[in-house]
Amino acid sequence: MGIKKRKLLGLALMAAMVSPWSLPGPASAEVFELDGMKNLYEGVSFDHDMHIEATGENCTECHHHTAGTAPTDPLCVTCHAKSPEIDNPSCKSCHVKDVFAAENMKKSWDTPLLHHRDKPGLKAAYHQNCLGCHEENGAPTGCTDCHAMTDAGEKFYNTGKYAPEPKTSGHGGGNH
């Protein structure tokens, strides 16, 4: 093949790569490792594809309005009926990890006219958002069903190998 032909082939290949049919799907077609609580628990392997299927491709179920879909809750719709998709609809882009840190507190409480002052932190957002639906659909709801405890976690909860010896019955002085 001549140099001109190779260059043309290269260009064609590059064009093919960026064509709509060969682009990857939405940037979230993977399993996410959520490991914010790694001091107590192992990370959660979050299968996003499975959840897209489970919700019937209704992004609102988990992403509220940030994926460009309109919410159904009448309280939300008043403001967010036509809210567009945002650049990064991941949970952590809105729900901060250390919600009670000084600068985040300041933002929440001192911003005048802020509506969602009590926006949950990241940890709470996951739990509040996931648990309800999980319960309704027989999905895992126990703490260690989604994330196993680390050794530090077992120490924290005084469980597993750190569990206390079962006490024989009887009154502890004063604790009647």
């Binding site: 002085g173 004063g174 604790n175 009647h176």
Partner: protein, 418 residues
Amino acid sequence: MKSFVAQGLRPVDSLMKPESTTEWTLKEKLLLGLSPGDYLKQLVRNPFNWIFAIIYAIGVPVILGRFYYGLGWATHGSYDYPWGLFLGWGLFCMVPLSASGFMLGTTVELFGRKDFKPIERLGLLNGLLGYLFAVVFLQADLGQPWRLIYPMVVSLGPAAVLFLVAWHVATYLSVQVAELVPAASEMMGWKAPKKFVKSIVLGLTVAGIILSTLHQGALGALFTYAPGKVHPLWYSYSFQWFHFFCSSIFAGLSMLIVVSTLSKGFLKWRCDSNFLDSLDRITLGLAKGASLALITYLIIKLTAIAHDNEWALLFTGWGQWYIFEICLGVLLPLFLYTVAIRNQSAKIARFAALIAVVGILLNRLNTALITFNWQMYQEIPHWREVTITITIYATYILVYRACLCRLPILFTWKADAK
């Protein structure tokens, strides 16, 4: 002692030995004028002392255990029921019964009723010992009794009612000790202390009235901190302090009648004619005072119910218990005292006094223990708690007896012609 006196022993009642120019030594005075051998003999012969011996045999190890193992071992004190018998009995029951101190002091020194003088010192002693042992009970109850003086010198919390109780009991104990200094001075042969106290007796008496009014009331006010916990019939945030203060008046007077009766019965050898001959008349006089306090108390109790509109509660189970307490502790003594006064019967008055004392115990135990946490389970004191309470109370009786036998309380000290 009775038999010794019958055999001709003259009880110590002056600085000089009878028909002699030698003085009693302190040791002899303490041994009631007996030789050590005889003293022990009469101790052993007395059946009451056998009861005390049994009480101490059981009680002393338990008291030691309380301080070694802590309150959790000795009481059923719990997070829900922090106070038990030590305070319920030792503080809340004994203090109103010891109100005779300020009552008699006021009657004799302030109101000038010298006709009550024969019983004045008994009233003062009753008061002093009652408060002293209330403090002993308190020390048994406090978690850290060695910190007793903290509210006075280390860290003050003046808004608290207990602060007032602490300061007043401490000050009042001093007042009462001072008021009994004349008796001790006579026995010991001191001149100056007696003279000094006599010169400030009016001030002491007024101080005694102020302190007593406030701390008797304050003990009641302690329960105003727990509006939901004490049953509404026993609770009144407006009148609680007055309930306790007013009832302490007839409690002190009735207890004095009871104690004087016991003294007349068991320590007759120690009483002189000045005491014995006037006792019936004095008893009726005390009965008059007690009945006035009783009727006042009854009216204020009913007013408190009206004030908080609690009439409907009288028809509940607790209401029946309340009616029982009023009938036994207020109406019955009031009726009996009135009958006694009308018929000039000291005997009936004494019986009324006993009932009144029981009524006071019932009221205080009801407020502090029985109706406390009425909406919760009932708490029964631990047997160790009961044992310690009995032991400390037995000590109180022993000390009381020891003082009555030695100090010129039931008898007049003979002034020696020098």
